[in-house]
Amino acid sequence: MKPFTLATPTDADEAVRLVADDPDAAFLGGGTNLVDHLKLGVATPGALVDITRATSAEITDLPDGGPRVGAAVRNGDFTADRRARERYPLIVQSVLAGASGQLRNMATIGGNPLQRTRCVYFQDVTTPCNKREPGSGCGAHGGYTRYHAILGASEHCIATHPSDLAVALAAVDATVRVLGADGERTIPFTDLHRLPGDAPERDTTLAHGELITAIDLPALPMARRSLYRKVRDRASYAFALVSVAAAIELDGDRISDVRIALGGVAHKPWRAHRAEAVLRGARPLEETFETAAAAELADARPLDGVDGGNGFKTTLAARTIVAALRDLTEGARS
């Protein structure tokens, strides 16, 4: 573990300045991922800037009716918020599906989407990894790929993004508020994360020193009819093999609007635009759900590997999409 300094500013501008001015500095939120990385040698910052006092820990209402969730809101506190529970079941369910109670009490809403892949090769400094050490090669290709990508991967990286919350935020088109040395900007949540391409060391489109200060949720009344379905190997405390965040709006016997995002399948939360396009305006029928899922997964590229690879994920993702849509529309279809 490399020695580091710790700053605890109470002001976001100060926090940004401390990191932006020091290429060796990193923001520290709840620490549920970064502290592990310090111990494992995966991250070796020389300076940590704790932002849990520099950003808001409040959920406030925006003029358009959507809530603004401060970056320092603890995951556990978010799931207890009555507005969130009533209006965004898929987001609350996604947070509750992640980690454990203890971790959720530490982790923050701003930090959660920035957690890094749990690829076992990324987390082991004795194996090659282009994400951890650009140019060193990908240890996962041909290795243990059960938790790896089937969509949007590259020869350089096949890792998946582990956050459940991020999948739900991608589905609802949340907006990320970012403060940098040059001021504030907003990023559509679906543009926050990136595909690996030839630069897998970059998980997001944030520049060094840019700090997430809040996440704005759109009013989105349809989100009341939503769910987060996480498929995993054990009942608790496991990353998704596949997850689906979905919200749906019905107008008579037609689907008037639908939002779907997938987790556990790609380097970023995978917004299922193709499936949504098939579903919009269609009747909520099982066959249509299957067609939509197949369209979304048409380009899936499963991986071989130790312990059987991840070829099952394409089928699993399709079946989970169908099951989620069925659950959301049951009663409306008969």
């Binding site: 573990m1 749990r118 076992v120 290795g143 498929v231 190997d233 608790s236 405390y237 990353f239």
Partner: protein, 694 residues
Amino acid sequence: MSDLLRPVAIGRDLVRRDGMDKVTGRARYAYEADVPNASYCRLVQTTVARGRVEAMHTDAARQVDGVRAVITPFTAESLHTDGGELAVLQDQEIAFRGQVIGLVVADTAEAALRAAELVEVTCSTAPHDVALSADRDDLYKPEKVNPSYETDTSDGDVDVAMAAAEVTVEQTYTTAMYHNNPLEPHATTAFWDGEHLTVWDSTQGVHPTRAVLADLFDLDKEHVRVICPYVGGGFGSKGEPHVHVVLAAMAARAVPGRHVKLALTRQQMFSLAGHRTPTIQRMRLAADRIGHLSGIAIDVVEHTAKMKEYAEQTGVPTRMMYAAPNRATTHRLAALDVPAPSWMRAPGECPGMFGPEVAMDELAEALGIDPIELRIRNEPDVDPETGHPFSSRNLVTCLREGAARFGWADRDPRPRAREEDGWYVGTGVASSVYPVNRMAESTATIRFERGAYVVEIGAADLGTGTWTTLAQIAADALGVDVEDVSVRIGDTRYPVASVAGGSSGMTTWGSAVVNAARAFRDKHGSAPADGAEADGSTEDNPATEQYAMYAFGAQFVEAHVHRDTGEIRVPRLLGVFAAGRIINPRTARSQFIGGMTMGLSMALHENSVLDPRHGHVVNHDLAEYHITTCADVTDIEATWLDEHDPHVNPMGTKGIGEIGIVGTAAAVVNAVHHAIGIRVRDLPVTLDKLLPGL
């Protein structure tokens, strides 16, 4: 065998005497030993699986503030050893990936970690081989299997039985590589006072650890003290000392006057603390139409380390479980470039009752006979292996009692016949067995001090309840109130005691305590003077020459398989055991359900993924190596028969630490098959193995 003790304290569900100290944090474990002048040790490991350390540069490490010592294979003291697992830092050869090739001692754990990262290592590499398969051409027959069973056995002719049988099952089953993963990591605090070594070590046996350390460091045994009042789980992995104990002692010798603390990281536990070999089990069953077995055979292939042989006795339970005139068992090993496998809860029986108990379910299905009835029809009158009568064998009663409690009678045998809320529902059963083991050597001292009785014995409590149960045994053996008995264990200052392994603790230590109590009363009568004391030791039990001694059990499982995703959940587990007399129902229940939970974990989750390219287990932490969580078990129940066995020992106990894990995984597989009609023969049962059949 004399009459059993009259149970007064025995049988009471007393709370653990150490419980309050543990839940309030007052109980100090090995790493937490309250010592002055602590330094911290961090290990340096190889990142290649085979080869040789050519050079190590330690200058940068030594310059880290607070570093007191760096030891490498080039500088380490010589141990008195002929090689093997504990010959650490004795040469430059690399036998497996993750092998320790150095250590750092510093004033803080952080400085030690930083310095360990800065040690530069140059290795030459050689091709490594870690891939087990049944068709390797270099499989060999070990001389014995753990601990000293025959490697192969054959009675009659299974080939002939198979050829003549009306119905046969011939299938191959596999179990994965597993790591014990106790919650408390392997940890040691070590201190040298001249030529006297003291270690606080998390161990299943202070005396066995002392013996090993005395040999390695060429010390008089009396100059080594091992202290271990509490253990946060071991499951066999703390049964024999592993390298960390040796390294802590080496590290401490390098910093005179200081206590050195060393705890393995979770990742290090995947290469330095033993594991259970993967097994490949070819099963053959031959039967007639009414379900009588004419033949049963198991051919086992498993791995061992090139560095140290360990042969898991996976085929052993097949030798005695069912009445079949033709029986055969074999064990073959592949010697690989892996860390040494070792004991893990119910070595032999745990993997070895997987293939056979799934095969029995497959036979029941092929015959159209209820799987419980099939087992009853093959109940032997005497031990098929030795021809001796069983001291007691109540498998059939366990099966029937379990069937009644579980609601088995209403079971529709057809697979995929029940669905509830989108989940297919199935039930399954399997038998459990575990031998009654007694270790050779243990002595207890009982002393009368200030109006109460003190029992001293260098035994261990792994969380199992020894602190409490030995007091119960002593109280009944002395004929006094249990509150008037105190127990002192976990320190080599107390008389020699055997390792807590093989479910032998109560039989071995308990017998010593009973003999000590009898000696005490013989010597001092019922009104002893203050300071009166007597010793007693465990003895050979002549009845073992006349009787086969085993505990039995039956495990029932309800499994749910999700219609859409193939997710598997097990909402209900029931175990019924016949394990002799139960000393303490509270701690016993904990042992049984702990074993069953671990069996469930083996069935659904546990799987050490050995990457053949790198040569190490890549999912080496508790986020990626899945162990069953509380959410995976919603209703688990263990119960037992009131079994009277006058032959096993004066307490009438059979040992309960391991039988709970035996058979559980087979029962899960059988229940999953009943739920959806898919037979998974390779553990763990995961949804990807079910999806193609949904």
